[in-house]
Symmetry: C2
Subunit: 347 residues, 2 copies
């Protein structure tokens, strides 16, 4: 039996000859419905570390942020200005803002859950902020002891103030694809919140699947409803991998034109409300592997992200939750030595 | 500030009232470009166990297969008729075929890597078989000590024989999205192999990302090339999660109309060539969570699959690699007690 090869190689007689002879056509061509470029918004140093049981001090977090700065990501969320009694993992936010080595092409937004945090953040020299609200009333009450309405009003007020000062501002919508207490969340609520944040001047509105229960169908329906109110250029997605759905959900967001993706190196973090031991944020490495495989430009050096991930999990004493990182480390160990780490960090 | 709610609920005055008042519109509506139904082809008892270091005896595997039979999956790949010296995990295949309790709506195909295995499988009363070939010459040589051409010729011969006897036959193409030794694989080779298997009468041709290096772009390009040669109704995908891409790749396959998905309960398995400790097959639970979230019918009881997964990881002494299973067990522990397991198994 001789296998016929169809298409451009119709003259090739059999599969073996074909395999050795054919030009290695890239199977990674980017279909036209994906964005050409995607900005990676790295949340490992904030949403990641904030939900890890091990508390790192400001100096360790500064070193981590400095490593992330050298990877090529667009943004490194650097701290949360929240009371250290509530979130000890984020203590020393002001110190971090004053000690990190800023890269000229990287933004360093900080989360400001309330007016006090906002004021402290500006005082500490933060040049970009992120405000937050929730698409679930119960979640808002448990998380910040406010009603959903009070929380979004506070967020809108801070956003407007930031806009007035020329400070870039991002607005998170928690529980956009589901709430740990209320279950499904009405799409209309998320749409209203998104419009409120956009109207207040948020440069970017972030649809956050805080507990990672969303699936691609929910993400598609949500984006279809939000996009008439907020242009896709101002939308980002923030997906947790609790049920293993994050990358599929992000793929759907890309297909809808979303070009700003939150992710967390080594899959750090999680959500305290998703229960102990919950899988964390989607891993930056896994997102990058998919984006680069799709031919989408990110400007990010995959190997440097892997090195930053290995650094931080060493500090935390935990495993690497990025499958792409684990597979790459196993497959190309020589690319990830201490020497290459030093070289990468010093570039 | 009062938030305006747009769309169907334009009269609702604020977000809080909206959240409590609005009907809970399902965010899981199925977009029209997904198949309405998907058949789950469970590979845990074969591709899963075959690649686990712990060897289970035939009686334990029979009990496992009997649990899988009660989940509603379309097929349970039950054994591989390979020499037990080569793959001790699969020893006792004939015994399994004679002792499993067959469910009338479930198929129990067995893998037959060669003529000897094929003859043994038929002798043992197997009513469906799966043949295999590789899209990489080096992989074929390392895996079965044959050239790619020899291997596919053997597969085609067995498939034709099975068709002649009225035995349903499935054809796997290993390394369809990449080879651990050769890297990228020319799409033309996979297309030629798929056509050869289809022409030989295979009821289903399975594009297998054996080492899990594929990304959605590669999957889309491959399917676009294969579909003109093999109708989508006869295509299946088999994805490994080595780089965390499996669910995203499956999503793309669904968008192309593929309605037969291989998966492995608890994410059992892996590929020996992907290196030790590699992430395994995509977990059945994660696939089901996505499919059901998309509103796609599978006929599968998610909770029973979780119970079967917990049973088998207990036998293997390993963790559960399905994030959806882990999250469900944590969130709804009462749904997964020993009593419910017994009830499920006895139905």
């Amino acid at each position: 039996m001789r296998l016929r090869v169809h298409g451009p190689s119709a003259h090739a007689a059999d599969v073996l000859r074909c395999a050795t002879r054919l030009a290695r056509r890239s199977v990674h061509a980017r279909p036209s419905y994906y964005p050409a470029k995607v900005a990676i918004y790295e949340v490992g140093a904030r949403d990641g570390l904030q939900n890890e049981p091990t508390v790192l001090d400001a100096a360790e977090r500064t070193a981590f942020i400095n490593m992330l700065s050298m990877t090529g990501v667009a943004s490194v969320e650097a701290a949360s200005f929240v009371h250290p009694k509530l979130v000890p993992q984020m203590a020393g936010a002001a110190e971090i803002m004053q000690t990190i080595r800023r890269h000229k092409h990287v933004a360093y937004p900080v989360l400001v859950p309330n007016r006090r945090g906002y004021d402290d953040a500006l005082k500490a020299g933060s040049s970009a902020v992120a405000v937050m609200c929730s698409a679930s009333n119960t979640f808002a009450q448990r998380n910040v002891k406010q009603t959903m309405q009070q929380q979004v009003e506070g967020a809108v007020e801070l956003a407007a103030d930031a806009v007035g000062r020329g400070v870039p501002v991002r607005g998170y919508i928690s529980c956009a694809l589901g709430c740990p207490f209320e279950g499904a969340v009405p799409v209309e609520v998320v749409v209203a919140l998104a419009k409120a944040l956009a109207d207040a001047g948020c440069d970017e509105v972030v649809l956050a699947d805080t507990i990672g229960t969303g699936t691609p169908g929910g993400m598609a329906a949500l984006l279809a409803s939000v996009q008439p109110q907020v242009p896709v250029e101002r939308l980002a997605v923030h997906c947790h991998d609790t049920y293993g759905q994050a990358l599929a959900n992000i793929l759907v967001a890309l297909q809808h034109g979303v070009a700003s993706i939150d992710s967390s190196v080594a899959g750090l973090g999680g959500c305290p409300f998703a229960g102990p031991g919950a899988a964390g944020n989607v891993a930056t490495e896994d997102v990058l592997y998919m984006l680069h495989g799709l031919g989408i430009e990110t400007g990010v050096d995959f190997d440097r992200v892997v090195l930053a991930g290995e650094y931080i999990i060493g500090k935390l004493g935990r495993g690497n939750a990025s499958k792409a990182a684990v597979a790459s480390l196993r497959r190309r160990p020589n690319d990830f030595t201490a020497a290459t780490a030093r070289a990468a960090a010093s570039t």
